[in-house]
Symmetry: C2
Subunit: 161 residues, 2 copies
Amino acid sequence: MTDLNKLLTPLFLSEKEIRKIIELIFFSYREFTLGPDEILNKINYGRAHHRVIYFVGKQNNITIKDLLGILKITKQSLSRVLNQLVKEKYILVSIGEDKRTKKLCLTQKGLDLEAKLSKIQIDKIKSIINDAKESDINGFKKILYSMIDEKSKKIFNKINE
Amino acid sequence: MTDLNKLLTPLFLSEKEIRKIIELIFFSYREFTLGPDEILNKINYGRAHHRVIYFVGKQNNITIKDLLGILKITKQSLSRVLNQLVKEKYILVSIGEDKRTKKLCLTQKGLDLEAKLSKIQIDKIKSIINDAKESDINGFKKILYSMIDEKSKKIFNKINE
DNA sequence: TTATTTAGGTCAGTCATATTGACTTAATTA
DNA sequence: TAATTAAGTCAATATGACTGACCTAAATAA
C-alpha cells in the first residue's frame, strides 16, 4: 500500500483493522457456543442438536422442510440428529394437515433442555447489554443483520414476524 | 413475566429481542465463512485449514505451541491439518532457536491461498463498512470484544501488538 | 549432573457433523 | 392420471475434533 493510499483510506477501513474484526468474529463465536457445547457434550449431543432444539422451540409445529430451510443442511444430516432427539423424547412428531408433512414440537424435556442451553447465551448477552451503551448494541445488531444474505434475511424476518 | 417486570425491562433487553441477536449471530457467522469454505472445498480442505493458514500468516514464525494456544484444539487435531499444509507446500517448517520448537511460515503458495480466502471476508467487511455508520462499526467491534473471555482477549491483544 | 519439565510427534480408536448419490413411499396437485 | 412434493432411508465418504497412551529430544531446575 502506497503512502497516498494510506492517506486516502480511513483508519477504520485499513486491512489491519479489518483483520482484527475477522479475529474478533472468530474468538467471539467460539466463546459464544462454548457454554452450551459443554452441556451438550455431557449427554453426547453437539452443536447440531442445539440448533434443532432452538428452532423447533422458536417455531412450534415447524415442518421438516422449513427446518431444513433454516438450517441449510441436508435431509440426511438432519435425520440423524432429529431421530436421536425424537427417540430420547426431546421432540414430539405429529402429522400435519397436509398428511405428507410432519409437525415438530418440543416436549417438556425438550423445553427444559432448550431453556438450559439458551439461558447461557441469553445471560451472556444480557450481561453485555447491561455494561454497554444502547447505541453500541444497536450498531452490533445492524452490522450482524447486514452480514446476512438476502435469503437468510427473509427467513430471519419470517420467524420473527 | 409479570406486567411490572415488563415495565421495568427495557424493550431492547427483552428475551425476545435477545433471541433475535442469537439468531443474527448464527446466520451471520454461517454466511461469513461460506465464501472461503467453497474455495477450500474445491481443494479438499476445510475451515480448520483456513484457520491455520490465517494465523500462520498473521504471526510469522509462530510455534506449534502458540498456534495451539490460539486455536484451542488438541495437538492431534492440528497435526492432521498442518501436515497436509506442509506436505502440499503451503507452510514451511524450520527449527527455532530453542531447538525443541518449530517455526511455521507461509510459502508463496500459502500466501496466495491466504490472500484469496481472506479477501472474500475482507471485501465483505469493507462493503459493510462503506454502507454503515462509523459509530455502528465501533459498536459492533466493542460488543464482539466484550463477548470474548479474558484469556482470548489477551491472545487477541498479543497478536495485534 | 541428574531429574524434571517442555515442545513436539505419533498411533489407535471414537464421535459428531456433514456431504453426495440413489432410491422409496405416500400424499397432494396440476 | 401424471407430476410434484414431503419425508425417509441406505451407503459411502470427508472433515473436525476428541481421549489416551506413548515417545524423543532439548532445556531447565534441583
